[in-house]
């Protein structure tokens, strides 16, 4: 009997299958109840969903919010209500404004300053590594880590639990709010994490899993940066991004994965119009018959040594020398005439220094 039911269900599922569009289509979020005069008149778009901002007097009574404000050394012009809004991801949470706009603003600011920093500091970085470095500095995982290090807590207790533990209602305004009221009441099994529908669909789409909490922390960090821009302006935001994000150590030298380094080096030398051929020469060795032979090889172009590598076999030393030559080219970082870092285009009195990369080589 069971088998026959299972058989019956299959063709039904197949019939329901909808062909998936391969491209992105902008669609209005119907839950925002957007009204407009004409479809192309974007200025007339108004969301009619009822939202209000948290009064400053209420926000200032939330100890975690005030503590977060001073922990991040935010200027006094940065209102606590905006900070609280930056921590709210729920669209329908007591009618409070959420961080959607602040998140977008923060994301744009972040991607500008991170890209500017990388392009000026490492002008010769190949495109895949550049993208990896951007992810390394402002990817979801990194922003989650930053959010955690700022001591942001998640509001996970339901209204009933808050009432029973006599928790102050103001406390939640200083916490990250992304769990909906219904899922707070769900029974949770310790050690078991149930995927939400969004998470399952993202898993199917690009085969990568980002937990809702990680995305929420990242969004809060971006929103706090967006809020800083709205209250304190661009200079303060730039300084904040430099202090909190660009000050992190970027392990660029661990991010390269070469498939054919020797060929790449030869192509690169061609592209740079080096007339002499690339040669790998043995610089020193401990002796072939020694217990643990070690070879030092160098990648040369004429009399110029491009790179050097140590290996326990000739081929290892050769590959290491070639990879070192490539790395020292790609990771070149210009400095200004007085030995300081090169100025960024967003700096005052900016004058172009340094170099512009000539682009990647093709193999």
């Amino acid at each position: 009997m069971l088998r026959s039911i299972a058989r019956l269900q299959r063709p039904v599922l197949k019939a329901c299958r909808v062909s998936v569009r391969g491209y992105q289509v902008a669609r209005l979020d119907s839950s925002l109840k957007t009204k407009y005069d004409s479809l192309t008149d974007y200025a007339s778009y108004r969301n009619n969903i009822f939202t209000h901002r948290l009064p400053e007097s209420t926000a200032s009574q939330s100890p975690p919010l005030v503590a977060l404000h001073s922990r991040l050394n935010l200027p006094s012009s940065y209102t606590l209500s905006t900070l609280s809004q930056a921590l709210n991801l729920n669209k329908f949470d007591d009618g409070l404004a959420n961080n959607f706009g602040l998140n977008t603003l923060g994301k744009n600011l972040l991607s500008y300053y991170v890209a500017e920093h990388l392009l000026v500091k490492y002008p010769r970085l190949p495109m895949p590594i550049h993208n990896g470095a951007v992810d390394s500095l402002m990817g979801v995982e990194t922003l989650y880590e930053i959010g955690k290090s700022w001591g942001i807590d998640v509001d996970q207790s339901s209204k009933l639990e808050k009432y029973l533990s006599q928790e102050s209602e103001f406390l939640k305004y200083g916490k990250l709010r992304f769990v909906s009221e219904e899922s707070k009441n769900d029974v949770k099994e310790p050690g078991v994490y149930e995927l939400s529908e969004d998470e399952v669909s993202s898993l199917k789409r690009n085969n990568s899993f980002v937990a809702k909490e990680i995305e929420a922390y990242a969004s809060a960090v971006r929103s706090i940066i967006g809020g800083l821009y709205t209250h304190a302006g661009e200079e303060a935001t730039k300084a904040f991004i430099e202090d909190h994000i660009l000050s992190r150590k970027l392990p660029l030298e661990q991010m390269f994965q070469f498939s054919q380094p020797t060929r790449e080096l030869i192509r690169l030398c061609d592209k740079l119009n080096f007339t002499e051929p690339v040669e790998i020469r043995l610089i020193a060795e401990t002796g072939r018959l020694s217990a643990h032979p070690i070879y030092v090889a160098g990648a040369f172009c004429g009399v110029e040594k491009l790179g050097e590598g140590v290996g326990s076999s000739l081929s290892e030393a050769k590959t290491r020398s070639v990879v070192n030559a490539l790395m020292s080219y790609y990771l070149y970082s210009p400095i200004s005439a007085d030995g300081t870092d090169v100025k960024l285009p967003s700096d005052k009195n900016y004058k172009f220094e340094g170099i512009i990369g000539i682009g990647d080589v093709a193999i």
Binding site: P63, P64, V66, A67, L68, S70, R71, L72, N73, P126, P128, I129, N131, G132, A133, D135, S136, L137, G139, E141, T142, E145, I146, K148, S149, W150, G151, D153, G174, F240, E242, D243, H244, L246, S247, R248, K249, L250, P251, Q254, M255, F256, Q257, F258, S259, Q260, E264, R267, I283, A284, E285, T286, I294, V296, V310, L326, D360, V361, A362, I363
Partner: protein, 140 residues
Amino acid sequence: MPVKAIAKSSIARNGVGAYVVPCHKISVQYCNWGGSSTGLRELLKNGQLDNIASKKKGIFFDIFKRTGHPKLTFHYNNDKAQEVEVANLNAKEIEQKIQEYSQRSGAPLFKHNHKVLSINDSIRGIWSPMHTPKSHRHQI
């Protein structure tokens, strides 16, 4: 594609650029009846804890009453919480405990036996016997 990227997360360096206090919350538990809470009650009554809290603006002090011995719980940003028993301690000693634990990073203490603790490569490089001139090399 000649070169592929290996995904790596950047490493936090708290204090390079901005410094964020690792301890973000201190839970202070006291009992209104027990004798072991006398010191903590005094600290709460004479407004000394208010002074400490106003000096440490980045830390959220959560004060609650519960029966049993008094306890301080320090919450750090590496998801660790450190409980400190303050039973029968006087106000001064409790204040010292708060000062001490609020300045910690939350990581377990370890004995540091090395001259340098760094995540950066040595700027001078490592000495290599292969790079000395041939005349200076060790002869067997």
